[in-house]
């Protein structure tokens, strides 16, 4: 028993430190986000820079979002078809696939596809500027680095993830229908008929809400990791790595929170209705 308590004591220290570090990191990120938001409304606004970032992160990601969206739509329809066939409920395939893609798979997929790009174009760039003292140089010229560097990137990433999600959802739905038709031999009019029955506008709303949240999270994490980098060339690599990991976790965490909120409201509605 004493051995056990001692073991618990021994691992309690590191865990406490870990939890504290985690909370401190979250706090610092929230402060960073607040500072960024405050600077959005101050002149001058760096339009050029924002558009450049929208191009780098957004426009250049269009091909990968199109390709991955289409094929993930196909994968989802195949898997749902299998799952529904266990209950003999294939008739609902179109509705379930569409709803699942809109609410869940689509937004998460687009966010994960963009994580890689954000890591290079936001975190690596800012971190390199930081370690080569370019950020200090900007400050010395009397320009606020948050306003000059972070705000345009933050807005660009948030906006582009939202738009790319819309694009990704469209192709994913197309991919679902086409793969269902070509590979699984499902009648398309059949497929489309029950979409209306099972997919409410709420599904689209949930998806959009998620994509906005993911956009803000990814933008904050990427800029934060970039701007807090200290050291040399290895520090840049580490910052990119941390950005990728934190973004992945944030996406699934946020997704879980929204899903459980949705489940809560749905549960309430169920209680009221039934």
């Amino acid at each position: 028993m004493t051995v056990l308590t001692r073991q618990v004591q021994r691992i309690r220290g590191p865990i406490e430190i870990g939890v504290m570090a985690f909370l401190r990191e979250i706090g610092a990120m929230a402060m960073f986000l607040a500072a960024t938001v405050r600077h959005i409304f101050k002149a001058p606004f760096e339009v050029q820079e924002m558009i450049l970032q929208m191009y780098q992160v957004g426009v250049r990601s269009v091909p990968i979002v199109l390709i991955s969206g289409f094929f993930v739509g196909g994968v989802v329809v195949i898997q749902f078809n299998y799952a529904l066939s266990l209950f003999g409920a294939e008739v609902y395939l179109g509705g379930i696939t569409t709803s699942g893609l809109l609410r869940e798979v689509g937004p998460v997929l687009v966010a994960i596809m963009i994580v890689g790009r954000v890591g290079a174009y936001i975190t690596a760039e800012l971190a390199t500027m930081k370690v080569t003292e370019q950020v200090d140089a900007i400050r010395c010229l009397g320009v606020n680095p948050v306003q000059f560097l972070v705000v345009p990137r933050f807005l660009a990433v948030s906006a582009m993830i939202f738009m790319l999600t819309i694009l990704g959802l469209l192709v994913a739905l197309l991919g679902g229908a086409l793969v269902g038709n070509l590979i699984l031999d499902i009648n398309l009019s059949f497929y489309f008929a029950n979409i209306r029955k099972l997919t409410a506008a709420w599904a689209l709303f949930t998806g959009m809400l998620k994509s906005i949240l993911f956009g803000i999270l990814l933008a904050t994490i990427a800029c934060y990791q970039g701007m807090k980098t200290e050291g040399g060339a290895e520090a840049v690599g580490q910052a990119v790595n941390r950005c990728l990991v934190h973004c992945s976790i944030a996406v699934f965490l946020a997704d879980y929170i929204i899903a459980s909120l949705a489940a809560l409201t749905y549960g309430l509605a169920e209680e009221i209705i039934f």
Binding site: F87, E104, V245, I249, F252
Partner: protein, 287 residues
């Protein structure tokens, strides 16, 4: 007042025109052509590296210690990420299925079964592979590209050691093994969190039995097979981009992202192909 409006309008106009201009730049014929060319070049190069690696795997010397070291690093580095992400994924899957199945079969009894099927057959292996691409693949690319930039790859060749044999083969084997192990662990974590979130409705016994009704040995084999196939993507893509990285911190950073994005894209394409092939095979078997 009109001054503000004019200025705002001009700003919006300029923004729109620039967006349109940039969007056009992205999809010119030339742009598509060079993208296609690069796509072919990368696919070809990746295939060559894969074949080289597979050719060299059974050839001595066997660097068992290096493989073990890589496997431990890969596993240890990515275990927390996999546990956290798959933990959330397990809960998300159950919540989503609660919603969907309640409308279709009006019965939540089967949710554990369907969740199990989706985890084993689809989300377990693919999400683990994608997370490994972000965590481990990025590390491989950064390591190899910085070795390339400091002539260490050239030095290996000069010491008559094959860089693919020395660098890629151990990472390939280690990642493959860890991908399988982490997929199993990840699905197990997802199972636990899925059970926890559906708490009042099921006790452990009933959750397990419902799942057992649906998930069979073939689903487990499916998990292992997919993990092996998808696991090959990450080390090959990551090392490939490491070997062809440009100079300096910028080159390393760009190679890293390209490696991650390409890995995830190839994982999706490969997963789709596996699903289609499996579906066709199933059809043939049934007939």
């Amino acid at each position: 007042m009109s001054w503000v409006e004019n200025k705002t309008l001009r700003l919006i106009g300029r923004t729109l025109s620039q967006i349109l201009y940039l969007a056009r730049l992205g999809i010119t014929v030339e742009g598509i052509g060079s993208n296609l060319f690069r796509f072919l070049e990368v696919t070809g190069g990746g295939m060559v590296l894969l074949i080289q690696t597979l050719w060299l795997v059974p050839r001595p010397p066997y660097r068992l210690r290096e493989i073990l070291r890589q496997a431990l690093t890969v596993g240890w580095q990515s275990l927390p990420l996999i546990v956290v992400v798959l933990g959330f994924l397990g809960m998300i899957t159950v919540l989503e299925l609660n919603f969907q199945l309640s409308r279709v079969i009006h019965n939540l009894e089967y949710v554990p079964g369907v969740a199990g099927i989706l985890m084993f057959r689809e989300f377990g292996p693919t999400v683990v592979a994608a997370m490994l691409a972000a965590k481990v693949g990025a590390g491989f690319t950064a390591e190899i590209s910085s070795m390339k930039n400091t002539e260490q790859i050239d030095a290996l060749e000069m010491l008559s050691v094959n860089p693919v044999h020395y660098l890629v083969v151990p990472r390939f084997i280690a990642t493959l093994a860890m991908q399988v192990a982490l997929s199993v662990i990840g699905v197990a974590v997802a199972f636990v969190t899925g059970f926890l979130i559906s708490q009042p409705r099921f006790n452990f016994q009933s959750y397990l039995t419902t799942m057992g009704h649906f998930v069979g040995v073939e689903d487990f084999l499916n998990l292992i097979a997919k993990a092996l196939l998808l696991g090959a993507v990450v080390p090959i893509a990551a090392c490939y981009y490491g070997f062809r990285a440009g100079a300096g911190a910028k080159g390393v950073g760009e190679a890293t992202t390209r490696g991650v994005v390409t890995s995830i894209l190839v994982i999706i394409l490969l997963d789709f192909t596996i699903n289609v092939v499996a579906d066709k095979i199933l059809e043939v078997v049934i007939q």
